[in-house]
Amino acid sequence: MITIHLEPDNEVIELHGTKTVLAVLNRLKLRSTMAIVARDGQLLTPDRRLNPGETLMVRKVTSAG
């Protein structure tokens, strides 16, 4: 299971069976340039692999203008 802290929505989401950052973004229905993803304060590219039990910060980048 991967725990997601979604910003700026301030939601916590748990995902099962996701093994890469790209898979997380797909499950959240986000394109890779619509959010930044970080683990332990380090940014991750979509191809990075994830391990069960990890926590990610996913911050959507689109502002309302």
């Binding site: 700026p8 394109r31 890779s32 619509m34 930044i36 940014l43 590219t45 502002s63 203008g65």
Partner: protein, 307 residues
Amino acid sequence: MKCSRCKQLACVSLPSHHSGFCAECYPIFFTRQVETAIRREKMFTHDERILVALSGGKDSLSLMLELAFQGYDVTGLHIDLGIPGSSEKARAKVENFCTAHGLSLQVLEMEKEGLPIPDIKEHVKRPVCSVCGRIKRHHFNRIALEGGYDALATGHNLDDEVARLFANTLRWDTAYLSDQGPVLPARQGFTRKVKPLFRLSEFETANYAFLKDIEIHSDPCPYASGASFTSHKELWGELEHRSPGQKFQFYQGFLKNGKPAFAAREQEIGEPLAPCIECGSPTSAGTCSVCRIKAAVRESKAKAAEA
């Protein structure tokens, strides 16, 4: 993915540039994009004084930090809109950011100007976002002129510009299409306006803000629906995903091929500007829109008091 510069592990992937960058090299990419924008569009020089509009969001704070890093003479301007539960948070982020980086900041309080945004929401029967934007632009321009600044810089990024261009095109708004661009030269009571982040997407400024540890104000405005603007951005996000680089091509193509035609047309049919009879700001309507909004709020408040 490997960094395109140093071949270490990348932390940012940029499909539109066919590149990836590590945490050390990404700020260099960002700096070069801003340098290119300023140089190619002749935005300003190191001898000029720049007023930077600061909302507290990722774009304006990233712009301020980057311009200061590049050695420009920058002063921040934050407008405290007076919206309860929102404006105080945004202001605190801006003040803390400027203090932490030793940057000059000026704050204008709409409450003290007699026109807090909650009053507009209550008393003016027009979309509050459009009125708020108009008032902010009015004061940014006024303060830049009164303070003797050479240019007003805003944090508008490529996504903002493309979404606005798309909306203007859907309406075929020739007046807006005639002067949309990264530089609006000074003229008739208007300061020079520049957008040094116009080559960078929201994703790119978000990565920069994260890597520079900038604490941003990301709460949406409680008054903003943002519906059409956000949906246009999402639409363009899909197009960009299918064809990376399309946003920049669309915008650059407009600047090269579309804007000159609209500018020529507007020169023929556009309304001439004259100083507002109340505040002196340039307007084509005798009394400028901000003075008219002030009058509308005054009248509505007087009526409410009588009732």
